[in-house]
């Protein structure tokens, strides 16, 4: 075992639940995680080497082979493809001299694809080592790659002023926040966190929960579970320890509101975590940050340290008999970890496989203990509700959907960025707000959500009983090819399926192939009927939300834009299905014949 591995093991007290951190440390050190390093880690953790590989091989950003001195991941989201993605991709291959998925001859560059990296308001965008570059053009690629070749680090290029990575200016140097519409709840400057928390700690935890319940706050991650009820269940649950986890694994394509919240108002989120901990009786918090937001890590750690320094974290917070602290857990690239049970598995150093439910995390979560997993936005809002009262909050929005929510707007509009809207706002109002020109389709809540027709759905309201958007909103004007968008979304689900259950793992591939048939003009009505039937199977029998949501892109567009499918369908002539490709089938025969001859 080499010195470095020993140090890493010592640093984490050979605690296998910290395997994710250890793998990151190793990769930072060596550029990749070698078989020798895996063997050493396994030995130190009393795991088989393959058990370490289970985790290592699950995550997109871990590499078991050298992947270049500079690791470049270009986001291949549908929004990027609307904004010059192809030029940027070609420029990257040309300038670095390597093809996607590989490393150049000198081992300087590794080029990889990434699904949405939370920058849809400024795409094309790419991650290079631990920083990001946005609004890419071929010229910008040439510039960046040239500088890298000259020996500059990615950080030096992205941050020429040399600002400390703990400073918000570091984040601002590479990413714009693009807050376009501010409401009553979020992004308030000059909050007196100490006074707000003091007032909270002077009440009883039960009062905190009642305030949440009276405010009717519902989780902003998508499922809309009542926050007060979750905290009450957490408070009632029995466990030696209890945990608060902030879900900052904002992976739904198109959404980036948590990125902006964590940049502009990180202490709102931390304060929400402290209050949640006080309410349920937790001493430990984890902020699970997606790897794509690694440029926020030092800044967030600085915010946590500042909170601790001010006595708002740590032991006996503000003199109360209440201890609580927060650690940051880095993800490593897996959309499925947005599922709270997969996220917990990842926090425990394992593959991000969603657990079987029940039990729910609020009963048995992190390390088997009661765990409240809350979305970044939920926690930030909670801190505002405790400050201003439930009446103040519930006066906004509608009766069943109180308050406001953040929308991450991207696509065909004049002003992509962050919008705080009151629940009850209509789709048409949002289209006007964002300067959408000739909008045709609007994808809300990402691929897992719904596709709306502006013409048919314009008067519908954003609220939990109608358009219960999780924050992602992508606009497509009439020039966009919806079928290709759907195909990309289906590809996304295939790539991100954890593979634990058969309907999602195998059924997703079948649905993707059907979309390809439609686009190729070789699908008949029978294919569409099968899509409908198989989608029902996936929705009913998949183990987690990823599988159950994966048919949504097709189902939603079949419902809203049936004509674009109808135009592509062909009628069966004769005995063969249109999807049967005689030439392709015969090509196999020729190939087999040839290899037989060669063998003989």
């Amino acid at each position: 075992m080499n010195q470095k591995t020993r140090q890493i093991l010592e640093h984490y007290h050979s605690d296998k639940t910290r395997l994710m951190d250890m793998l990151w440390d190793l990769q930072r050190e060596d550029g990749y995680i070698s078989d020798a390093a895996v063997a050493s880690l396994a030995e130190g953790l009393n795991l088989s080497a393959l058990d370490v590989r289970e985790t290592l091989s699950f995550y997109h950003f871990f590499h078991d082979r050298p992947f270049g001195k500079h690791k470049i991941y270009l986001a291949n989201s549908v929004i990027a493809k609307m904004n010059g993605y192809d030029d940027v991709r070609n420029a990257l291959e040309q300038e670095t001299g390597c093809t996607f998925g590989g490393v150049d001859a000198s081992g300087t560059f590794g080029l990889g694809d990434a699904n949405c990296i939370g920058l849809s308001d400024q795409e094309p965008a790419m991650m290079v080592d631990e920083v990001v570059f946005t609004n890419l053009t071929a010229a910008k690629i040439r510039d960046v790659v040239t500088q890298l070749k000259q020996g500059k680090t990615a950080v030096e290029i992205a941050n020429p002023q040399g600002v400390s990575s703990k400073d918000v200016a570091y984040v601002d140097a590479m990413v714009a926040s693009n807050i376009r519409n501010q409401g009553a709840v979020m992004f308030k400057a000059d909050r007196d966190y100490r006074a707000i928390l003091k007032a909270c700690l002077d009440t009883h935890p039960q009062e905190v929960i009642e305030t949440m319940t009276n405010a009717s706050l519902r989780g902003r991650g998508g499922a809309g579970f009542p926050t007060g009820l979750k905290w009450q269940l957490g408070r009632n649950a029995e466990g030696d320890e209890k945990y608060i986890i902030c879900n900052a694994d904002e992976g739904e394509p198109g959404t980036f509101k948590d990125r902006v919240l964590l940049t502009r108002s990180p202490k709102d989120v931390l304060l929400g975590m402290v209050m949640a901990a006080f309410a349920i009786g937790s001493r430990h918090g984890i902020l699970y940050l997606r790897a794509e937001y690694c440029y926020l890590r030092d800044y967030l750690q600085q915010q946590i340290d500042a909170f601790r320094h001010e006595g708002l974290l740590g032991e006996q917070i503000l003199g109360a008999a209440f201890d609580f602290d927060i650690r940051i857990q880095m993800g490593a690239g897996a959309y499925v970890c947005g599922d709270e049970t997969a996220l917990i598995e990842s926090c425990e150093g394992k593959r991000g496989t969603p657990r079987v439910k029940p039990p729910y995390p609020i009963q048995q979560g992190y390390l088997g203990m009661p765990t409240s997993v809350n979305n970044v936005e939920t926690l930030a809002i909670a801190s505002r509700i405790i400050e201003k009262g439930s009446d103040w909050f519930s006066a906004m929005g509608t009766d069943e959907s109180t308050g406001t929510r953040l929308l991450s707007v991207a696509g065909d509009c004049d002003r992509p960025g962050i919008y705080e809207i009151e629940w009850g706002t209509t789709l048409n109002e949002v289209m006007q707000m964002i300067g959408a020109n000739d909008p045709n389709a609007v994808q809300i809540s990402g691929p897992a959500g719904d596709c709306l027709s502006v013409e048919k759905d314009g008067d519908r309201e954003f609220c939990y009983s109608d358009l219960s958007c999780n924050g992602s909103l992508m606009v497509f004007d009439k020039s966009r090819d919806i079928l290709h968008v759907v195909r990309d979304f289906m590809q996304f689900f295939v790539e991100e399926s954890c593979g634990i259950c058969v309907p999602c793992r195998a059924g997703g591939v079948d649905l993707l192939h059907k979309m390809e048939l439609v686009i190729a003009g070789r699908a008949s009505q029978q294919d569409i009927d099968e899509v409908t039937s198989w989608s029902k199977l996936l929705k009913a029998t998949s183990r987690c939300g990823l599988g159950t949501a994966s048919p949504n892109p097709i189902l939603a567009t079949l419902d809203k834009f049936p004509e674009i499918y109808a135009q592509k369908l062909v009628v069966q002539k004769g005995a063969l299905l249109p999807s049967f490709d005689m030439d392709a089938a015969m090509a196999g025969y020729d190939l087999a014949q040839k290899s037989l001859v060669e063998e003989a």
Partner: protein, 234 residues
């Protein structure tokens, strides 16, 4: 606590918290399973035991029963879903029953018969999968793996408790792997246990081949349904 649930319209008295799949078997209602092993922690990977519980489709091996639960097992729509899931497993791997060592003792094959599968409605994918012969006593015939994860979760090294079998990568890229060093330490009875635990012919004992020569093979006299219902602890 004694509770009462409805199972295909029939009222059943049972104990709160027992697993639905077991409760059904105890009451003569067969629900096919491929990853579930009675008495072991549920894996919830194959979904073949999907039934309708209070109107929602759920995997019966993951659901503890509670009072007033309404369960539909042999209802046409959900019956067809179970059949579709088995077909999906067949279309995903490369299953050639006539040439398989496990034929006649294979749970996937038996469940295929139980759900009345003739051919898969899903296109066969013919995914190339490599075999793994590296360990002394076992080999992995990955064409047949259905990723049930029984071996991953239930077979451990006796001395260290470490995993002998594991899953590599994710999604469609996932493969089952075997730790050669640990596998070579497996005592013969554990080798046999692993091969028998595998619901398909993926984990195969070396130098055994068929239990009996072709022509003399005695297949299971009882169907998987009869055996599942028999296993019930009375």
């Amino acid at each position: 606590m004694r509770i009462h649930i409805t199972l295909d319209g029939q009222s059943v008295i049972t104990r709160e918290g027992d697993m639905l799949v077991d409760v059904a078997a105890s009451n003569g209602v067969y629900i096919p399973t491929l990853c579930y092993v009675r008495g072991k922690p549920c894996l919830g990977t194959c979904r073949t035991c999907s039934v309708r519980v209070n109107g929602n489709i759920m995997a019966a091996c993951t659901i503890p029963v509670s009072d007033g639960m309404e369960v539909e097992v042999n209802e046409p729509e959900v019956t067809d879903m179970r059949k579709a899931l088995v077909e999906l497993l067949f279309s995903e791997g490369n299953h050639n029953c006539p040439s398989c060592e496990k034929s006649g003792r294979c749970e996937l094959q038996a469940v295929g018969y139980e759900v009345g599968m003739m051919v898969s409605r899903f296109p066969y994918k013919f995914t190339p999968r490599t075999r793994d012969y590296a360990s002394n006593a076992l080999w992995l015939e990955r064409d047949r793996c259905i990723f049930c994860q029984r071996c991953v979760e239930m077979i451990r090294d006796k001395e260290t408790g470490q995993k002998i079998f594991s899953i590599e990568s994710r999604g469609t890229q996932a493969t089952i792997e075997i730790d050669v060093e640990l596998a070579n330490r497996m005592p013969p009875e554990q080798v046999r246990e692993a091969a028998e635990l595998c619901p398909v012919g993926c984990i195969i004992e070396k130098s055994l081949g068929f239990n009996d020569p072709i022509g003399k093979r005695k297949f299971e006299i009882k169907s998987i349904r009869e055996r599942a219902l028999e296993r019930v602890d009375k």
